[in-house]
């Protein structure tokens, strides 16, 4: 049982943790000089992964996040989301399909439709079309949950780049020492 799956604000700032920024680091001070941005980033994370909903539970959101991070080759965030994921709540075939990026091995379900949409948004956002959105509706996903899914994947695209940018700044800072 993964006790950490339900996140709470007390878990601290996820981007700081993933990049390895601590209070007292010069880059930590630079980042938190833009406190509105860092707090809204963390508040977004808490909304996505805090309580979830019956129609779109947290373990499915974490599966989406893990897949998006793997597709984006973000090792640090893929590790973060894989560790948060309670594998016992997901079918082994789903975990395997995510790990191997082989969605075609999955039977059509709500979750496989969400993972297909995730793949499109992450890797080929310009190919978005009405049919991809209708596919979610046809899989039985309500409009409000489509909004949550789209916002989640778009947020992940942001979080992955924010973490990568900060990590590059941190690496340059380390070189200068």
């Amino acid at each position: 049982m993964n006790q950490n799956e339900a996140m709470s604000p007390q878990d601290g700032d996820v981007v700081d943790a993933v990049v390895g920024l601590k209070a007292g680091d010069p880059l930590f001070a630079v980042r938190h000089a833009r406190e509105k941005v860092s707090s809204a980033t963390q508040a977004s994370y808490d909304l996505f992964f805090g309580e979830g909903s019956a129609a779109f539970p947290v373990h499915e959101r974490l599966a989406v996040a893990w897949y998006a991070s793997l597709l984006s080759r973000s090792e640090s965030l893929a590790r973060h989301y894989e560790q948060k994921l309670d594998a016992s709540k997901l079918d082994a075939t789903v975990l395997d399909a995510i790990r191997r990026d082989a969605l075609d091995t999955l039977a059509p379900t709500r979750l496989s439709a969400m993972l297909a949409f995730t793949r499109k948004l992450i890797t080929r956002p310009v190919e978005g079309d009405e049919a991809a959105l209708q596919a979610l509706t046809h899989a039985g996903i309500a409009t409000a949950d489509v909004v949550t899914l789209a916002q989640l994947v778009a947020f992940l695209s942001y979080q992955i780049r924010l973490a990568a940018g900060l990590a590059a700044m941190k690496a340059l800072e380390a070189e200068a020492k």
Binding site: P26, L27, V30, R31, A33, R34, K36, V37, S39, A40, T41, A43, S44, L47, F48, S72, R73, S74, E75, K120, L121, P125, V126, G128, E130, A132, L133, Q134, T137, T143, A144, V146, V147, T148, A150, Q151, V153, A154, F155, S157, Y158, Q159, I160, R161, L162, A164, G165, L166, A167, A168, M169, A171, L172, E175
Partner: protein
């Protein structure tokens, strides 16, 4: 706007945008939805984009807090340079709607449109100064290959005079358009003015 620029499918004209699924009826919005629409954008109540996203008001509120702080907060990287990064990311991702909005904002702030014409024509060589070119190259790199980003990508920004606070603002501006472009491209489509 001084002059219409149209090239390669991009334009600095004012476009509309329509959602592909049902939007919230403004007349039926809850008090929370109204509050979040009002803090998100001055025209949110007549915009399909915000009326669609406000199906989940709490998520939209945090997105808008982040977006508005990144694009409009005083100090740090100039607002025109934040708009340049947003424009370049939108051009690379193929978001015609976002590119039109941020082409206009860049021109309003910078009082010139030469860089906009370059970004529409070929983003990879765009920029009218060394500083603009460094901002452009970093924005493209962060958009296309965040997994390969390293100190060698940050150093050129320092070489043209950006300090750490300005570099953070640039990372924020480029990254928030990874978010914005994906929503605009996948939840609806631009509507072009009648010829």
């Amino acid at each position: 706007m001084s002059e219409i620029i149209k090239n390669k499918g991009y334009t600095n004209e004012t476009l509309d945008w329509k959602a592909w699924l049902d939007v919230v009826d403004p007349a039926a919005a809850t008090p929370e939805q109204n509050r979040v629409l009002e803090m998100s954008h001055p025209k949110a109540k007549v915009s399909d984009y915000y009326l669609f996203l406000v199906h989940q008001p709490a998520i939209l509120q945090q997105r808008s807090e982040a977006f508005n702080a990144i694009m409009y907060a005083p100090g740090g990287l100039s607002r025109a340079e934040r708009e340049l990064s947003s424009l370049v990311v939108s051009r690379i991702n193929g978001c015609v709607y976002c590119a039109s909005v941020h082409a206009q904002r860049f021109e309003q702030l910078a009082k010139r449109n030469d860089t906009v014409a370059q970004v529409f024509e070929e983003p990879r060589t765009s920029g009218t100064t060394d500083r603009e070119r460094a901002i452009v190259q970093f924005s493209i790199r962060l958009t296309e290959a965040p997994e390969n980003l390293g100190p060698d990508d940050v150093r050129p920004l320092k070489d043209v005079g950006l300090n750490d606070g300005e570099i953070l603002d640039l990372i924020h501006a480029a990254s928030i358009f990874a978010w914005a472009n994906r929503l605009m491209l996948n939840l609806g489509e631009p509507v072009f003015p009648q010829e």
